[in-house]
Amino acid sequence: MRFSGMDMKGINMLFAAIPSICASSPKKISIYNEEMIVARCFIGFLILSWKSLGKTFKETLDGRIESIQESLQQFFNPNEVILEESNEQQRLLNLWISLRICSTVKVVESLPAARCAPKCEKTVQALLCRNLNVKSATLLNATSSRRIRLQDDIVTGFHFSVSERLVSGSTTLVEASTVEQIREAFLLEPRDLIREGFIVLRKVRVGGIPGTCGDGVGL
């Protein structure tokens, strides 16, 4: 019967453990009490946690080491890194241009009468017009979403700046309602919104807000 390396290691440890236990027990080096259970549980927990979390822990440390290595490389050879990046970008640009050319040729070639250029002129024009329409629609959408986001940003910005100023003193019900009014005022078109915002801010600075029983907000 042959044993593998791990088995042999285990058997060796067992043979080492038996005499050590026999030697330590009468000398009261290993005391048999409930501490043995604590010791076994402690070792068991360490082994269990090492098996379950050891890999994650090692990966975290390795990740940190790699990030330090990369940042050091960038620090010592910034030109090389920039050169590599620019080369990569140049390569991508070339690829993109060639793809564009290929796709244009392919589109033209894929048309039913591609070889008779004068005949397919209208089709190509129609295709290009369609592309143009799609792109302009996308642009419009992007513009409107950008506008909404800008509106939100302005509302939040004004809200925070006004509340900061109001909250720095003591907050009363009147001041809270003022903030609400300012918020409501901002739910307008951007142009009106900015105008309204400036008017409100000016009034806040001067010390009065429309519709707040004439209470001034001292700043």
Partner: protein
Amino acid sequence: MERNGEIVNNGSIIIPGGGGPVTESPLDQFGIHPILDLNIGKYYVSFTNLSLSMLLTLGLVLLLVFVVTKKGGGKSVPNAFQSLVELIYDFVPNLVNEQIGGLSGNVKHKFFPCISVTFTFSLFRNPQGMIPFSFTVTSHFLITLALSFSIFIGITIVGFQRHGLHFFSFLLPAGVPLPLAPFLVLLELISHCFRALSSGIRLFANMMAGHSSVKILSGFAWTMLFLNNIFYFLGDLGPLFIVLALTGLELGVAISQAHVSTISICIYLNDATNLHQNESFHNCIKTRSQS
């Protein structure tokens, strides 16, 4: 020696009728025994198991720091071991920067060594107490109280140094009605003084309770093993698993207590330096004074 029908032998109680040795009190593990008896004049300065335990912790921390900084400093690209030590070291400045506001970086750096030493001591000392046959220093009220009181006194000195007599305004939060002021001053004074006690008690109670419960349950499992009954023998697996789970929990508590005590020091320091004012208020005052 016989006591109430039980035979007592060398401190351990033996149940008559085949039962194995029953464990001693779970509080015995916290006993302080002299290893080297020393008397200098009237003073008893023995080297005890507590001293040995603290010396071992100190040795371990110094060894760790020495190993990663030998030959005039660590490597630029750390290995896993150095990385671990760096992570522990980096933890404290991040905590100080997050918790203490309204101070420049240089002033914060002055507090860093003290907080770092406290954190490292707790971080290494608490889990080290979980190792079987070792001793838990932080389960002694005297040790934790000495730590918390010295830190409290230090923080109060920092407060007076920074604000002078205006530090007493710490006892009266802004915007309090005048009739309530005497009561609030008294309350604030008590709560401020009890910070010293509370941080000491928190650490001591956590450590003591955890270690005692582990010991009680392991004693229970040990007794069940020697009851010469197959059902008890099989049932012994239950307490064993609970002890295993408790060991994990206790290790977690030991590490989190180091974190908690460090955070509380930072919070107390922040209170002493900023006097009831949060950072936004501080910035607001600054902008007002500038305008």
